[in-house]
Amino acid sequence: MAITLKLNGTTHEVEADPGTPLLWVIRDELKLTGTKFGCGVASCGACTVHLDGEPVRSCQTYIEDVEGSEITTIEQMEEDPIGKAVQQAWAELDVVQCGYCQSGQIMSAVGLLRENAKPSAAEIDEYMYGNACRCATYQRIRAGIQRAAEIMEA
């Protein structure tokens, strides 16, 4: 079926069967590869994107359910004031190691800061629970979110 997607401010016409995860449309059809495949069962968060501003796991979000919604990926975060602050904090603290999960971490971190401008360590741990990092960069993710909150406040 033909589906109209609004992604990063642009409208795309894509051809995909119902039941196709948004993840694969973003990666294989639109060739935006910042959004990652990690588990396919919404258990690692590497595929996190925003749907109308809310973080969702794109591997378990089906294409027929997103028509009419605004989809935002990591590639758009430089245009988002919170996204930009998180990216700046990530670079200052060298949060990344292998980096494969970090698009998803940043998309979740932006979602958190959007609803809570100054999260505590415990609130970060709770919100970010579903974003796995096999390099275990968690310390710096926590510090990065708090640093981003500072940047936003300044």
Partner: protein, 727 residues
């Protein structure tokens, strides 16, 4: 250990290569590109006439930092700021880009990237600097002794000009035989805390390209239908339902019968078509055992006479010493199979060029492996095979199989096509956990005899498990007198002075594919050693830190360095001063030439669950080249060790892996460890490993903290399966 390179031959080779000007490379989208270099001074650094400097990185980047680390060495010698240098991954060439500790073999592993590159890359940078200065001196008619390079400019004699101005002339010169390396007093970047990773920004904005992100024109995606039972062979399949999947192309049994390749237009179609495929398997030669049977075999081996007397000591003497001891402590340990589960599932892409060359796009940890395998599979000479090394989303050892398993799988899938379309092999997480290579299961049985005064009189240490190295290309390198060093490392070579030590090893039968897993044998040996040291200290009525220091006293540099990190970690953690409701455990271990001590502080109880509040670590890995990367590797190594010890294992039932995806191979999560603090010893020794040494002490330090809090000594992993819960 600093590998010696012959500077003269190295630099001559570099100068000769300067004339060779064709490079096969890849555009950012992964497609092939050819270019000529007009200013290649040597193969480890490239400077163009615009003054752009590129460090050519011979190691792959899986997050452990060599892209930044090796660039740091070049930038230091060339007088650049870190924002003036770029990096590129080297092509596959075991002659030029070999790991100096591996022989003529290009590869990353054993935490050797910095250790084997420290001299080599500094020499390359220094040679470039000297030639550029000489070239400037000739152009200006001044004495080179008065010139230097500062932030990309040749300066001195009252003049300054960009280095790019002197590249053409410098490329015609003979490099110095002995370029002068900057002394530690001159270093501004090596050891600098403020250096940031060169790959940080691109990994935060989605622009970093991993092998999984390759999209070649007209590519097919292939996934492999695999058997439930390990070792079963595909005999046929029915793809009538798969044909209903839009984008499905076709399916074919792999030439080695290990599975069925499912070809499709895109990844989702390939995954869907595989689900719809019905495969018949010949299980006559497949594994049928369960984990319990494998465990029983290991446990029986621990009680039998060991196959190998590792230290070639008189066992009777150790047994007699223990027999006569005032106290005997005995513990049997079991360590389950573990999967690596790097964040980026395994994948790679193969294409054939118009000239008939084969190109592999891969997060290649050991390029020489697939390079050699592909020569056989494709019947091509080495120079017709090219490897485009891309960023890797983690590995922990998984991308370094001696048999190049997934690259060979992709090649077999490719040779079954007409080669007109590139083939991208994708593994799912289920493939990764169920059809992977594992840290083998191991058992240890340790008996320690103590005198009435608490001195160690005898230490009888039996180890049993499946060898990693035997039957691989690394056997000659790692197996001596039948003993696979990776099965006993960390016990047989312990820096502790342990009187009356006997180490026995028994290899058990092959149950799965086995593979090095972040810190290899140290993953289990450090646990057994350090938990035993705590038990011995307790039996002797001594403090665990003090007891360890006694067994590190009066020795050489090895003991002194191990003792120093132990003291540093204990001091920084406030050892012995835990607040009410908190308990600490300690462990210290040497691996990959580096020394790491860790204190784990927990709260809670066995009944209500423990919480890891803080880990305080100290590490001595020689000269700290990039201190913040060292800190990050310790943080990550600790998390990796602790996460698996807490709750992960791979189990078999009837020869089939029981776990399928992260929900039942649960990764460490952000809330599992409250804080990690890392202290780095300001060493002047040659750099040693940092990717792995943080892992070994982490799990035993946690076990020792739990023992301090609850009198429960966990000797079976994972902890959650053996009486421990975490809040």
């Amino acid at each position: 250990m600093t590998p010696k390179t012959s500077r003269r031959s190295f630099l001559k080779g570099a100068a000769a290569a300067a004339g060779a000007a064709l490079f096969i490379g890849a555009r950012p989208d992964g497609a092939l590109a050819a270019s000529s270099s007009d200013a290649m001074l040597n193969p480890f650094v490239k400077i163009d006439s615009e003054g752009n400097v590129t460090a050519i990185i011979k190691h792959f980047e899986k997050g452990q930092g060599p892209a930044t680390g090796l660039s740091t060495l070049i930038a230091e010698e060339l007088g650049l700021r870190m924002d003036q240098i770029h990096y590129a991954f080297a092509p596959s060439n075991p002659q030029v880009y070999n790991n100096l500790l591996f022989g003529p073999f290009q590869g990353t592993g054993g935490s050797t990237a910095m250790a084997n590159s420290f001299m080599q890359y500094r020499q390359a940078g220094a040679a470039a600097r000297e030639l550029l200065i000489k070239s400037a001196a000739e152009a200006w008619g001044v004495d080179p002794a008065g010139l230097s390079i500062e932030e990309g400019m040749v300066v001195g004699a009252g003049r300054s000009a960009p280095i790019g101005d002197f590249v053409a002339a410098a490329a015609q010169m003979e490099p110095p035989a002995e370029p002068r390396l900057k002394s530690p007093e001159e270093w501004r970047i090596i050891g600098n805390e403020s250096t940031r990773r060169l790959d940080s920004v691109i990994k935060g904005n989605g622009k970093a390209k991993f092998a999984m992100d390759v999209h070649l024109d007209n590519q097919m995606v292939v996934v492999i239908a695999r058997p439930e039972q390990r070792g079963a062979m595909a005999t046929g399949f029915d793809d009538s339902a798969a044909k209903e999947v839009k984008g499905f192309i076709n399916a074919a049994v792999l030439p080695n019968k290990a599975g069925v390749a499912v070809y499709a237009e895109n990844t989702w179609a390939a995954i869907q078509a595989r689900e719809a495929l019905s495969v018949t398997w010949d299980t006559s030669a497949a594994e049928t055992r369960s984990s319990d049977e494998i465990r029983a075999e290991i446990m029986a081996a621990l009680d039998a006479e060991p196959e190998y007397n590792v230290l070639k000591k008189d066992h009777a003497e150790t047994l007699a010493a223990i027999e006569g001891a005032a106290q005997v402590i005995e513990k049997t340990f079991y360590f389950p199979l573990l999967a690596h589960a790097p964040m980026e599932p395994l994948n790679c892409t193969i294409e054939q060029t118009a000239e008939g060359d084969i190109v592999l796009h891969d997060g290649a940890q050991m390029p020489t492996g697939p390079h050699m395998a592909f020569q056989q599979i494709f019947g091509l000479p080495a120079e017709k095979i090219h490897i485009n090394t891309m960023l890797a989303g983690g590995s922990f050892g998984r991308r370094a199989t001696p048999d190049a398993d997934y690259q060979v799988e992709a090649a077999l899938a490719f040779v079954m096509t007409d080669r007109s379309r590139p083939v991208k092999l994708v593994w799912t997480r289920e493939d990764d956990l169920r059809s992977g290579y594992y840290r083998p299961a191991f058992g240890h049985k340790v008996r320690v005899g103590l005198s009435a005064e608490g001195e160690i009189l005898g230490w009888d240490h039996r180890i049993a498990g499946q060898s990693i190295m035997k039957g691989t290309a690394f056997e000659a390198f790692a197996v001596h007198d039948g003993v696979d060093g990776s099965s006993v490392e960390g016990v047989s070579d312990t820096p502790y002075r342990v009187p009356g030590m006997f180490v026995g090893l028994t290899d058990t039968k092959k149950a799965t594919s086995t593979l090095w897993w972040r810190s290899v044998g140290h993953t289990h040996t450090a646990y057994a050693m350090e938990v035993m040291m705590d038990l011995a200290a307790k039996a002797a009525g001594r403090d665990p830190v003090e007891f360890r220091l006694v067994h590190l006293a009066g020795g050489g540099a090895d003991q002194a360095r191990k003792a120093a990190v132990l003291k540093l970690a204990a001091e920084k953690a406030g050892w012995g001063k835990a607040q009410a409701g908190r308990h600490m455990g300690v462990a210290v271990h040497k691996s990959f030439g580096s020394y790491a001590a860790e204190v784990v502080e927990i709260s809670g109880t066995a009944e209500d669950g423990f919480r890891i509040e803080k880990v305080t670590a100290a590490v001595d890995c020689g000269i700290p080249v990039n201190p913040d990367i060292i800190r990050a590797q310790m943080e990550g190594g600790i998390g990796y060790g602790i996460g698996h010890a807490m709750r992960d294992q791979i189990t078999l039932a009837g020869g089939a892996v029981e776990q399928y995806n992260f929900p039942d191979y649960e990764p460490l999560r952000i809330g599992d460890i409250g804080a990690i603090e890392v202290h780095i010893v300001k060493s002047t020794e040659a750099p040693t490993g940092i990717g792995e040494p943080g892992t070994p002490p982490s799990a035993p330090a946690l076990a020792n903290a739990i023992a301090a809090a609850s009198a429960l000594t966990v000797a079976d992993l994972p902890m959650v399966e053996h009486g421990v819960s975490f809040a």
